[in-house]
């Protein structure tokens, strides 16, 4: 799953969530490419956290690629271990 924007936030959160859910349904492993993204907002991090729980619960895996330092710090603030 690729994100083609340097910022994603609440306005894109619904689409992000729907795409994520679709990918998670279709495969046992989901890869999200954050290479072009410089930062996100809380709505996106929340989706990632919830998706992570769902994946673990059903034995699936989520991988994040090209995560910037900024986004790593943001995830760390939200208690997400990267």
């Amino acid at each position: 799953m690729e994100i083609d924007s340097d910022f994603i936030g609440v306005k894109q959160a619904k689409k992000f969530y729907d795409d994520f859910a679709g990918e998670l349904d279709a495969a046992d492993e989901v890869m999200i490419d954050f290479s072009r993204v410089k930062r996100v907002d809380l709505s996106i991090v929340q989706v990632i956290i919830a998706a992570g729980r769902e994946a673990r619960g059903s034995g699936k895996m989520i991988k994040l690629k090209g995560v910037s330092d900024t986004i790593k710090k943001q995830m760390h603030i939200c208690g997400l271990k990267t």
């Binding site: 619904k14 929340q46 919830a50 729980r53 769902e54 943001q74 939200c78």
Partner: protein
């Protein structure tokens, strides 16, 4: 909180810590292996160190740091408790007391004392060195203090629709992190729903953060300026707590159920860790996860939840410091209510029967509420006597050592509560009475053994409630008082005549007279005869009394009787002419209508009245107060027999009006200098009634 406020808080806290330390050190001397006491002493020094640093008392900080090191060595088993250590710690506490509270004059040899104490501590510590890691930690925290760094606990919970307002809570958290160092952070994910139920446009996360920052709290609050009104934002300066607890748990207001389960032995630490990690992944309560995994039963979880509730209540029940002036104002207002009630009762009595009856019933119900209200206010002012008593442990230790005696102080009933004002004022009288016991009561170890007693003497300081009063007893197992010697001295100084028939209690009461002392020599502590009369005056000033009982060879008991409160008494209202006077019910023995032949005149004593075979001095109150009376002959009026300090007199009044609760109003000295009056009260009809001070009256009569 301004700097002055912080300093005031520190001073109050330091006083409490120092008082507790003195008592603990003396206890430690008696129980040198008691780890609870050792840990308590260490924590006290640690807190004192941290707090003094925060308010900028660097000398105190560095000094207590050294003492803390000493105690740490005891705590780790590298040093044992011994006399030199106890002495240096107690003297160190004295140095800290002088440094924090002492005047400039008292600090004249302060630096030499400090150097001496530090040398002795170094000597005791020997070659014990501080590890490099510890040193670094200490340097860091010292720097923190010097740079004015503070610790803030921030709790942030946001409304679900916050994104609609264009606010990203994550930015707020990033801004917050920019103001200092995040010591601890926990993202609260409890509200996060399962993925299939998830609404990506809602906010589910909250945070609990501990931030170390050199910024004032206003700067921290400013981060949340635009969200604080509609969201749950709580920011507290927890710098003091941080130094007390060393580590501040992010969710400091929660006792976690998992910890309770581990403490009870139902879960192991590893199992708890596993469950918590699992909880992070699934949106389930910890208790449910524990049951699902088979680590505990539902019943065990429910019991733990009940324990958690109890602990939460304990944590939530915080104490607050209340200005006693505010409490006094509350009592005054209550007093006005009591007066208003009395007025309404009078009106009810003048009303026609049915309405008057209804009003009286309503007033009785109101009276019950008022009394309960009064009880609640009084209870706020009530504090246990224990901490006051504990302070005497050090005094007994030091005083007995200086006299070469071995005496221990046992405290009983420390949980007994007394009005704060009374507690503050009984300290000195109690100290003097204990001093007397040490100096004149308890014998030297050699004399005690010769008398078949143990070498160590005992003083018991005991407090208890009885019939609406508080009793405090100082009981020693010393040599007791030689009543014959007291009687001889009383005769010698003219307080009694050789042929006077004096009861034992009366003879012992002479010990409270000014200048009276049967001590063979004046000691360092007492024997000058200037103490016990002041003791009695102080106690009587608190509307209490003190009596002595003694058995030669066995010991002496001094018993103080004190009212629960100084503000309200039960009073007997009496009529003298057009005036109402109030006699405190505590002083009243009985009231009688004497027969004519029961009144006699005795040379040197004046008029006396016979009461149950005993002759009691008759006091014509109209004469004392220079007012008109209806009854000049005692058999036409009423004689109220009152007692104070083992002395009884009969007060002639016209009639008895009634009995009621009285709210005492103080009288300034320019209104009356008479010791026969202790205050006044406003009655229901608005009249002012003077309250008779029985002790003062007896004293005044004695001086005539």
């Amino acid at each position: 909180m301004g700097q002055t406020d912080i300093l005031n808080v520190f001073m109050g806290e330091a006083r409490e810590i120092i008082a507790s330390l003195e008592s603990d050190i003396v206890n430690l001397e008696e129980n040198p292996r008691d780890e609870t006491i050792i840990n308590g002493v260490f924590r006290s020094f640690h807190t004192l160190k941290g707090s003094s640093g925060i308010v900028g008392l660097t000398d105190v900080y560095e000094f207590t740091h050294r003492v803390e090191n000493l105690i740490d060595e005891v705590r780790s088993g590298k040093l044992s408790i011994h006399d030199a250590l106890i002495d240096v710690v107690l003297e160190s506490i004295d140095w800290v007391k002088t440094e924090i509270f002492g005047s400039e004059e008292k600090k004249s040899d302060h630096d030499e004392k400090r150097a001496d104490l530090l040398n002795r501590i170094t000597h005791i510590l020997g070659k014990t060195t501080v590890t490099p890691q510890k040193k670094e930690q200490e340097q860091k925290s010292r720097q923190d203090i010097h740079h004015g760094l503070r610790y803030y606990h921030i709790k942030a919970r946001f409304r679900e629709d916050i994104f609609e307002f264009g606010i990203d809570p994550l930015i707020l958290m990033e801004d917050l992190a920019g103001l200092g160092e995040v010591i601890a952070r926990r993202a609260d994910k409890k509200k996060l729903p399962p993925f299939k139920d998830f609404d990506p446009e809602k906010c589910y996360l909250g945070w609990d953060i501990v931030l170390k920052s050199d910024q004032p709290i206003d700067k921290i609050k400013a981060v949340f300026l635009f969200v604080e009104d509609d969201n749950e934002i709580d920011i507290r300066d927890v710098t003091f707590d941080f130094y007390k607890n060393e580590e501040l748990d992010v969710a400091a207001d929660e006792i976690k159920i998992g910890e309770i389960m581990v403490k009870k032995g139902i879960l192991t630490e590893d199992e708890l860790e596993e469950v918590i990690a699992f909880q992070d992944d699934v949106n389930k309560k910890l208790g449910n996860i524990i049951v699902d995994k088979g680590y505990a039963t539902e019943e065990q979880i429910n019991d733990a939840l009940k324990d958690q509730e109890k602990l939460k209540k304990k944590i939530e029940t915080t104490t607050i410091r209340v200005d006693t002036v505010k409490l006094d104002n509350l009592m005054n207002l209550l007093g006005e209510i009591v007066i208003g009630q009395s007025a309404l009762v009078r009106i009810a009595e003048e009303m026609e029967e049915e309405s008057g009856f209804k009003l009286k019933n309503a007033l009785y119900a109101l009276d019950r509420t008022t009394r309960e209200f009064q009880g609640q206010i009084m209870s706020i002012r009530m504090i246990p006597v224990g901490p006051t008593f504990e302070q005497f442990k050090r005094f007994v230790r030091d005083s007995s050592h200086s006299l070469g005696k071995d005496i221990r102080l046992i405290i009983e009933g420390g949980e007994t509560e007394l009005d704060k004002t009374v507690i503050e004022k009984i300290g000195d009288p109690l100290k003097h009475m204990i001093r007397n016991s040490i100096d004149h009561g308890i014998e030297s170890p050699r004399d005690r053994e010769a008398a078949g007693k143990s070498a160590q003497g005992t003083i018991v300081l005991k407090a208890y409630h009885q019939e609406g009063n508080v009793y405090i007893e100082i009981i020693d197992d010393g040599k007791g008082i030689n009543v014959d010697r007291v009687r001889e001295k009383a005769i010698a100084v003219g307080l009694a005549k050789p042929d006077d028939d004096l009861s034992r209690e009366k003879i012992l009461s002479f010990l409270f007279m000014p200048g009276f002392s049967t001590a063979e020599k004046v000691g360092d502590l007492s024997g000058r005869g200037v103490g016990m009369d002041v003791v009695r005056t102080n106690i009587e000033g608190l509307r209490g009394n003190v009596e002595i009982r003694s058995k030669e060879g066995q010991g002496t008991t001094m018993r103080l009787k004190l009212p629960l409160t100084l503000a309200i008494i039960d009073g007997m209202l009496v009529n003298i002419g057009n005036y109402i006077y109030i006699i405190p019910l505590l002083s009243v023995v009985e009231s009688i209508r004497p027969k004519q032949d029961g009144i006699k005149t005795v040379e040197g004593k004046g008029e006396v009245i016979q009461v149950r075979g005993e002759y009691v001095s008759l006091v014509r109150l109209y004469d004392i107060f220079k007012i008109e009376s209806r009854c000049h002959d005692p058999w036409e009026g009423l004689v109220v027999i009152v007692e104070s300090n083992a002395s009884r007199i009969g007060l002639l009044v016209d009639d008895l009006v009634g009995q009621q609760q009285i709210v005492i109003k103080s009288l300034d000295n320019f209104i009356t200098a008479s010791r026969a009056v202790s205050g006044a009260a406003i009655l229901g009809d608005g009249r002012v009634a003077l309250i008779i001070d029985v002790f003062g009256l007896i004293e005044e009569l004695g001086n005539r």
